[in-house]
Point group: D2
Chain length 369, copies 4
């Protein structure tokens, strides 16, 4: 496999839209690697480990492959031909292009979601620490952007924590359910034993039927990413509002960041705003994947290509939002004195303390603050 | 509660967009009923069954309530005032408007999803019968809208079945996880024991924390509806393609239906097309609900109202699509002779038969064809 | 034509999502009226005014028609049959269902957009008055939700004005271009002279070719509504932010409105929030109409029905947002003293005054403040 | 300006999603070039041509700049600092980051739309030639995916032509209206004479007011691209349907293309399918830009960055769809014999011929077939 091809993410805005490791893990190079690994695993599944090694050693030029895609709609046609030439005629046997792409998608998703989930969970942990630390610190509760009644900042942070934990669990449960191989062959009725063997090789599930044009799995993944993104956006929106100097209860901790280029002394909440840039792009991309479920007959005309491109973008944006949100929450500065002033004298914090304790105690195994 | 108010669904196109019982179950009357039932359950939860009875007996004029919503952003303000006047001052105690709306949403969703899921499952059952009946009937497999290789029609139907079963399971699992009360009081730190009691009264879950501005539950429901919709659309698209007279392998069974108004002898696949009308409207609505997750602080400025309206529409459209798809699959006419001709002589059906058997055997409990 | 059928808009939230006259103008009754008027105009176009009168006098039961739609995919089949029975066999001659629907759409759009545009322009006028009145009143300019540098409130209001004027002009120009008849007959090659005559009867344009499956017109209308909605949302977002009591520079003028149901003394900016409820639902609906442009061959399978339903909703939501925004801007309370304090001493207002004067002078004919 | 940075478009699928020149014209390098050109034009506008030359000669490392964006939310902060260091302290004077970005956006859009429009118009010309050549060739008209009545293939092609011409005119009119500079300075009340001078330098319009948070222009551009995309998708959908071998009336002319990787003899309509891959991703991106119109106060928190990324993608996808559609229409193979057989004996072509002639005659200046 040739050298690092260009990154998908746009360079000038990459720090905003593709922060953290996820961008690399959905790059062209990562996709190409995953595709070749699936071809190698398929060779092992048919009992040909030497072929697998030859496949992994093959020299495949990404630019050449890409050029041929214009003739075939799929980079796999070119890849498979090269593998047959370089590694042996048994390469790619029993598979159709989409088999390799669908299965490689699962490898890419698994790899990209690991750091993404780690960042969401670290953000939840940071929120849990805020919840515990500020369990009894009064703040003004605000509804419809208006001060309403006092509550505790710890409870607000516990809600962030709970939302982030819940979103991570959503994505985790989809990964546990949907990371499966696809191996139906040209028309989807290939040998199920081969699919099962491929699944074992790659430590993926066996779906029973090929899902060439049954796209619930990509849809569920896109939805879970949309949900993670939605919660990240909610937390970031709260931070931008509370960081308004007229409220002034929160600020981002990295003092070297956020200085305005044109206004002296202004300090923008860079992390929170970057989260919002990412999360606001996500919902329409989920709609794209859902709309792409209408795939014709045995294999659709414009299906997995749309999912590949849109799903990569959704992973990269959600991963970036998670990285920014973790940074934001881990360095958040809380002005409890100002919060207390806004909450007024003898604020009634209701059951806040108990609710915080219970929420922390109810966290997923091993994650109490 | 006053007489039946107007239906949400547009009358002239209601047979297309709001077929079946779901439309009624998300109507204005259904919402009002659910809201009042939550208020009554809250009265029982505080140990006041007489108040609950009085609440259920109260006379509430939907039009009057609606008028006041323009002053308050929430019909609950008007409803709560009337309940206090008519049933007693303890009505609505401990709750904020959104508590009642969020909890009533869950009642509405539970009621609407019952027939919706029944229709999806009946459609899956019909597909299972097709799969079994046509287990060994050859058909031309088509990829990218081009004939590719022969396969069995039974396997195609088994895939429809599998997709429909899987989509139903998705929605079912969300219902099992997310049907919970919301009872946080004005600022979200109310007595958790009261929330638990309300949950018991309504046979809903207890979320631990109020979710006034943590909107993963509505998002997950919307996503699952989007997924159900996506699979229904996939099956319907297949039927419209195979019902093209030039292919002519399938037709809708109801001969009195689909006659063109302007072209004699033409017979449109009305059910399949109606499914597509509904399912193509769904993905952007899911995006609306996901985008609405960015709700500010303790309660957002424009949140649950967007979810109420959009969610009702999504339920109604998905329910209509499910009713149409069930009708379509239960009455599908299969021209096996024409399929066989297109498949050619001695078609190789690969592992089709085994795959059909395994797919049917793997169906959820008690649903084998 | 029978009595008033049910409104499309949901009753309990109708004051939020369907304020003002537009909701009625896209109701079932309004659509049915427009459909019948087009049939009558067609009768006049073929030189049969008596038939036209008989058509207008026909008794058509909306519920009956709706029922038949389930057999035909189009309410026009039932309407045309009744008109032939009641008014004469020449009714509907030369037209296909979609001809009548497309042309009636244009009547509905024209009627609905009149008050919608009037509200947008009245909102722009109110902004123009604010711009003039506060031409030299300092306020703190805010970027990225942070105070940046002083500017004038007049200039901020002038920008609202300019945006609203520009959005109205966008919609107006689409109406001028796209309000045309459609009359192609069953397969789209009907007599162009008849289409021209129908256009004269209805004071609509003549498109040259029937646009049964060429959907640029509905797309342009949806886009313009999305643009109007976007600007209304921008202005409303500004008001919600400046109405935060911690900033406290603006408030909505109607003191009887916005009182919280659960928090004494709280005053929610009801109009601004209602605008946002509407405008945030618009962009995905525009996407629905754009995606629906992919209509097959001479007439698509699931086309105009999606546009009818989605377009009605988009009109109603944008109309409601416009009505709320007009109310908001016409009654806005400006606290210039508080603005001045936030702007600091001797604020540099740059070219604000000149820019306000020029912007007002550049308004469309006759609309200077 | 340093060497070519990585392309935005994903390499392996770039031939599908980024065919033609538009991808390059919205690449990172193209954006950086446009940003620097605006800075140089600003130097000329303040009467300092030497500074402009020095700006154009500056050495700016894209990777370095990108790194700083993580601190500032805008690559312009880093660019401006380097220009001040390398070209002189007067660089970037009077401008804020977003001024340069907004104005550079217009340069990028102008450059990207030139080949995009050329391809749409060439596709329309190809359709016009088909219309003229097949003016009197009968074909079966198809509605709701069912054969309906005969018509002429020339009329179908004339409709494609008309839709493509109309879409091109839409985009053209937006370019004529909306290609303007933005130069408001840090808070939007800068010297209007300087904006006018910058406009003259760049041959762009003068908007009167800065549009930092008034986003009708990006919205109108996105909508027009969505409209162009919608028509391209419509034509491509028609081709995929008529290229089904069971209908077999059209095929793509490039015989070396579209051969299946796994099925011998199969020939996929690669160009038509590639168009659909692009066009189905467009509508949700339009929704993203419309939703991003809700930008706060003087400058929004997450605004232009979303437009930059989404708009670049929309341009690239629409440009790719246009390049594919042109290729598809310029090489379309028409089987008139098969069309004639499907149309039956003595088909009534109605006013088809006249309609074709009139449609061609009504084309924009100089484009008759």
């Amino acid at each position: 496999v040739s050298d690092e091809p260009p990154r998908v993410a746009p360079g000038l805005l990459a720090p905003l839209f593709a922060r953290g490791p996820v961008g690399e893990l959905v790059s062209e190079a990562a996709w190409l690697r995953a595709l070749v690994e699936v071809e190698a695993a398929l060779a092992r599944a048919i009992g040909n480990p030497d072929l697998a090694d030859a496949i992994l050693a093959a020299d495949i030029d990404l630019a050449e492959i890409a050029q041929e895609t214009a003739q075939t709609l799929s980079p796999l046609v070119g890849i498979a031909r090269r593998l047959r030439e370089q590694a042996g005629p048994a390469a790619h046997a029993g598979a159709t292009s989409q088999d390799i792409v669908d299965t490689a998608t699962m490898l890419v998703v698994r790899r990209a979601c690991a750091p993404l989930l780690a960042d969401v969970r670290a953000a939840a942990d940071a929120a849990a620490r805020l919840a515990r630390r500020h369990r009894d610190d009064a703040t003004m509760g605000r509804t419809l952007l208006q001060p309403a009644l006092p509550t505790s900042f710890g409870l607000r942070a516990a809600r962030w924590m709970s939302g982030l934990d819940d979103a991570a669990a959503w994505l985790q449960s989809v990964l546990e359910q949907d990371l499966v191989v696809d191996l139906g062959g040209p028309i989807g009725h290939g040998d199920p034993a081969l699919a099962a063997a491929l699944a074992r090789e790659l430590d993926l599930g066996d779906p029973g039927l090929s899902w060439h044009s049954l796209r619930l799995r990509p849809a569920r993944l896109a939805c879970a990413l949309g949900g993670v993104s939605g919660i990240l956006g909610k937390v970031a929106r709260d931070v931008t509002l509370l960081a308004q100097p007229e409220i002034g209860e929160l600020s981002e901790g990295d003092a070297s960041r956020g200085r305005s280029g044109s206004v002296l002394g202004k300090n923008n909440p860079v992390a929170a705003i970057s989260v919002l840039m990412c999360t606001r792009r996500a919902p329409p991309l989920v709609a794209t994947v859902l709309a792409a479920m209408e795939q014709e007959l045995e294999r659709g005309a414009a299906g997995w290509q749309i999912e590949w491109a849109t799903g990569s973008e959704l992973l990269s944006l959600t991963g970036s939002a998670a990285a920014w949100a973790r940074d934001m929450l881990e360095h958040l500065q809380v002005d409890t004195a100002r919060m207390a002033r806004a909450a007024g004298e003898r604020p009634d914090l209701g059951w806040s303390g108990v609710l915080v304790d219970r929420a922390i105690a109810a966290r997923p195994a091993g994650r109490a603050a």
